[in-house]
C-alpha cells in the first residue's frame, strides 16, 4: 500500500532498532498515550526487538477504556426508554456497566445499532422520524470535531429526533494529571498522532518545559513508532526534554484550526470523570446551550444510577501506567475478551485486549 509500506519496511526497522540499542545506556520507561499505538506495538511484536532497559507502558488514550462505569450505566438507562434507538461505535457494546451491558440489553429488546460514524446516526434519525436516535459520543479531540459537525448539521436541518450523549474527553488534563502524579514515573511520551493532528503540540511543550519530559508525536506504523522511540531515547541520553514531531506527514505544531473551531462552536469543557483518574477538571466536552435540542443530557431525564467499578479490576492503575495487565489477578482468568471485566479488555485498543491478543509469547 502506497504511503504505508515504506513505514513497514523491515530494513528500516532493523536500522532503527540498532540505533536505539546503541543509544540506550540506562533504564527508560516510555508511555505510549494512545490505544492505537498500544495495538500497533503488540501487533508488530516490537517489545521483543527493544533492549531490555526500555519499558513501554500504555496510557489513557483509549476513549472506551477511560469512559467510567457511570457513563455506561447512563447509556444503558437511555437504551431502555421507549422509542429510543441507540447508535454507537461497536466497542461500547460489550463494556459492562454496574449490572449489564448494551449488548445484553440488545438481547432483551433494546434497539442498539452499530455505526461507523456520527453521520450514520444522523441518517438513521432521518430515516426513522417517529423514533428518537441517541448517538453515544465517545472519543477524544480526534472524534469530537466530526460529531460537532453532525450536531451543527442536525440543527441546521431542524432534525428534532437526533441527540448526542456527549461523553467526549480532551487529552491535556489527563496528561497533566499523569506528570504531576508522584506514583507515575515516565521518562518520555510517545504522543498520540491522531489527537495531535487536531490539537497540535502546545500541550506537549508544557510537559517538556515544566516537567522536563521529552515528547515525540508519532505515527502508527512500526517504523514510525521505532523512530519515535529512537528520538526519545536519544533526547533522554542527552538530558534534553523537547517536543519533536515524528509524524510530520500529518501533524503540524498548530494543529487543525478548522476542526478546533467547529469543536469550540458546539462544545464547551466541563468537569469529567475518567476511569482510573477520577474527576479531572475541565476534561470533558458538553454541548453548549445553543445546541440544547441535540443534547441527550438535557433532553432526557436520566435517573442517577449508583455505579460500581468491578471488584478486583485494576483498569484504573493500568490506564495510568502504574501497573501492566499481567499484574492483574483477573487477567486471562476471569477477564478475557469473551467475558471482559474491565473496559481495557473490551475495546480492541484497550491495553489488556492488546496484551491478550497479540503478546503473551513470553508472558503466557
Amino acid at each position: 500500500m502506497k504511503y504505508v509500506d515504506e513505514f513497514r519496511n523491515r530494513d528500516i526497522a532493523e536500522r532503527l532498532v540498532k540505533r536505539i540499542r546503541e543509544a540506550c545506556h540506562q533504564r527508560i520507561t516510555l508511555m505510549e498515550v494512545c490505544g492505537t499505538h498500544t495495538v500497533a506495538i503488540h501487533r508488530n511484536g516490537l517489545p521483543e526487538l527493544l533492549p531490555k532497559e526500555i519499558t513501554l507502558i500504555s496510557g489513557p488514550g483509549c476513549p472506551v477504556c477511560v469512559t467510567p462505569v457511570s457513563d455506561i450505566d447512563r447509556a444503558i438507562a437511555l437504551s431502555q426508554k421507549d422509542g429510543v434507538i441507540i447508535a454507537t461505535f461497536g466497542d461500547l457494546l460489550r463494556v459492562s456497566g454496574s449490572q449489564t451491558s448494551l449488548l445484553k440489553q440488545c438481547s432483551l429488546g433494546a434497539d442498539v445499532r452499530i455505526v461507523y460514524s456520527a453521520y450514520d446516526a444522523f441518517y438513521l434519525a432521518e430515516q426513522n422520524p417517529e423514533r428518537q436516535v441517541v448517538f453515544l459520543g465517545v472519543g477524544f479531540e480526534t472524534t469530537a470535531p466530526t460529531v460537532a459537525a453532525v450536531i451543527r448539521r442536525a440543527r441546521e436541518a431542524g432534525l428534532n429526533n437526533f441527540s448526542v450523549l456527549s461523553m467526549h474527553k480532551v487529552l491535556p488534563p489527563a496528561l497533566l494529571s499523569l506528570v504531576t502524579s508522584p506514583q507515575v514515573k515516565i521518562n518520555g511520551f510517545i504522543c498520540p498522532g491522531h489527537v495531535s493532528t487536531i490539537i497540535g503540540t502546545g500541550i506537549y511543550k508544557r510537559v517538556a518545559a515544566d516537567f522536563h519530559i521529552p515528547c515525540v508525536v508519532a505515527g502508527f506504523e512500526p517504523v514510525d513508532i521505532l523512530q519515535a522511540i529512537a528520538l526519545l531515547v536519544e533526547q533522554i541520553e542527552r538530558g534534553e526534554a523537547k517536543v519533536e514531531i515524528q509524524y510530520l506527514r500529518a501533524v503540524s505544531p498548530e494543529g487543525n484550526l478548522k476542526a478546533m473551531a467547529i469543536m469550540d462552536d458546539v462544545f464547551e469543557t466541563s468537569d469529567s470523570i475518567w476511569r482510573g483518574f477520577g474527576m479531572l477538571p475541565q476534561s470533558g466536552l458538553k454541548l453548549k446551550a445553543d445546541y440544547a435540542q441535540c443534547d441527550a443530557e438535557r433532553r432526557y431525564n436520566i435517573p442517577p444510577v449508583k455505579s460500581q467499578e468491578p471488584p478486583g479490576c485494576i483498569c484504573g492503575d493500568i490506564l495510568r501506567g502504574i501497573k501492566r495487565p499481567p499484574d492483574c489477578s483477573l487477567f486471562k482468568k476471569l477477564c478475557t475478551p469473551d467475558n471482559p471485566v474491565g473496559a481495557c479488555m473490551v475495546s480492541s485498543e484497550g491495553t489488556c485486549a492488546a496484551y491478550y491478543q497479540f503478546s503473551g509469547v513470553n508472558i503466557a
Partner: protein, 341 residues
C-alpha cells in the same frame, strides 16, 4: 400454465402450502435446474448407489446477508461451502440435499438467480442435488431466504485427513489470498457500503484437492478457513492436533484492496472469512510438489507456504511479524467490532 408465475411476482404463503402453487413453484423453478434421475422420481427419499470406500457426510446452513454479493450469491455459497467441507476431509463429493426456507415476499426473480447459481456451482463441482425441501414462512419470520445443504462424499482408501492429524514439521499451504469473501460482503452491508472491485472468492475446491491428493499420500490435515478466517482455522487445528503452529506474516497472501479495507475498518485480515480457500498441512518432503500442483488449478494460483507445525507452543498459533518480532494469533471472538478511532 407453468409460465404464469415465471419472472414476476413474489413468494406467497400459498407456495408453501403443499398444493397447486407449491407444485408449480417446484416444477417451474427447482426441478428444471437440478434435473437428475434421483430427484425426478419425487419419492420421499432419494435412493443412491455409493461406490466402495468410507463415506463422509456434512451439513451447513447458509444465512448470508446480503443474499447477493460481488462474485456470488447465497446459492453458490450453499453448494460450494458444503462441497468444500467434504473436500477438506479428503472426500470426493457426490450428492447434495438442499433445504430452502423462503420468506413470504421474496421475489421470484431473485429465487431464480439463486437457483441458477446453485446449478452452475453443482455443474462445476460435478455433484448433483438428489433430494430437497422448500418451506415458506410469513414475512419477518426469516430474512428472504435461508438454505441448508447436506453433502455426501467418499474417501479413497489410504486417505486419512483430519484436523487432529497435523504433525510437527508439516508445512502449511494456504491456497490463495485471505479475506476476499468477508470484505466483499462487508462492502455491501447497509450502513457500510463502499465501492470496491473486490469479489467473493466463493468456489468449489474439490478438483484442486483431488489433484493435490495425487501428489502426496501424506497430506495430514486440511481446513477451509470460512468464518473466523485463517486465525480460527489454524487455532482449531493447533488445539485438535495438540501442536504449535508458526506462520510467517510476510508469506501470507492478502489482496491490496482487502488490506486497505481492513485498515480502514479496523479488522484483521487473518480473521476475515473466505469461501474459496483452504489450508493444507503436508509432510515437508512433499510440500513443494503439492504446492506446484495446487498452483496449476485456477483456485490455487496464489498458493503459498505460510508456515509450519512446531513441537512447542502446543495448542497455540504464533506469527513471526514482518518487523522480526513474534506475536500470538488468538482465536477470534465472535463478530469483529468496528473500531472507534
Amino acid at each position: 400454465m407453468k409460465q404464469d408465475i415465471r419472472g414476476k411476482g413474489t413468494i406467497t404463503l400459498d407456495h408453501g402450502g403443499g398444493g397447486r402453487a407449491y407444485r408449480e413453484l417446484i416444477h417451474t423453478y427447482f426441478l428444471p435446474r437440478f434435473a437428475n434421475p434421483y430427484l425426478e422420481k419425487m419419492d420421499d427419499s432419494a435412493v443412491v448407489e455409493i461406490p466402495q470406500g468410507r463415506v463422509a457426510m456434512t451439513t451447513d446452513c447458509y444465512v448470508v446477508d446480503p443474499i447477493f454479493f460481488p462474485g456470488g450469491n447465497i446459492g453458490s455459497l450453499a453448494v460450494c461451502g458444503t462441497v468444500n467441507d467434504l473436500s477438506v476431509q479428503g472426500a470426493r463429493p457426490l450428492f447434495l440435499s438442499a433445504g430452502f426456507i423462503l420468506e413470504e415476499g421474496l421475489s421470484l426473480n431473485d429465487l431464480e438467480k439463486i437457483l441458477i447459481a446453485m446449478e452452475e456451482a453443482c455443474r462445476e463441482a460435478g455433484v448433483i442435488i438428489v433430494t430437497g425441501d422448500t418451506k415458506v414462512v410469513p414475512k419477518g419470520k426469516a430474512d428472504k431466504i435461508f438454505i441448508n445443504t447436506t453433502g455426501i462424499g467418499i474417501i479413497q482408501p489410504g486417505v486419512d485427513i483430519s484436523g487432529s492429524n497435523a504433525k510437527a514439521g508439516d508445512k502449511i499451504i494456504l491456497s490463495g489470498t485471505m479475506g476476499d469473501h468477508g470484505i466483499a460482503i462487508l462492502s455491501q452491508r447497509e450502513g457500510l457500503a463502499f465501492d470496491t472491485s473486490l469479489k467473493s472468492d466463493v468456489a468449489p475446491l474439490n478438483h484442486m484437492v483431488r489433484q493435490c491428493l495425487t501428489m502426496s499420500r501424506e497430506i495430514h490435515a486440511m481446513r477451509d478457513p470460512t468464518r473466523g478466517g485463517v486465525a480460527a482455522a489454524l487455532n482449531e487445528i493447533a488445539l485438535q492436533s495438540n501442536v504449535g503452529i508458526r506462520i510467517n506474516d510476510a508469506a501470507i497472501p492478502v489482496k491490496e484492496e482487502v488490506r486497505a479495507a481492513c485498515e480502514v475498518l479496523g479488522l484483521d485480515p487473518l480473521s476475515v472469512a473466505n469461501e474459496g480457500k483452504l489450508l493444507m498441512f503436508v509432510v515437508p518432503g512433499d510440500a513443494l510438489r503439492v504446492l506446484e500442483e495446487m498452483r496449476k488449478n485456477r483456485y490455487g494460483k496464489g498458493a503459498q507456504i505460510i508456515g509450519e507445525v512446531i513441537p512447542d507452543y502446543r495448542g497455540r498459533v504464533i506469527m513471526a511479524t514482518a518487523m522480526g518480532g513474534t506475536r500470538i494469533i488468538d482465536m477470534p471472538l465472535g463478530e469483529q467490532l468496528p473500531r472507534i478511532c
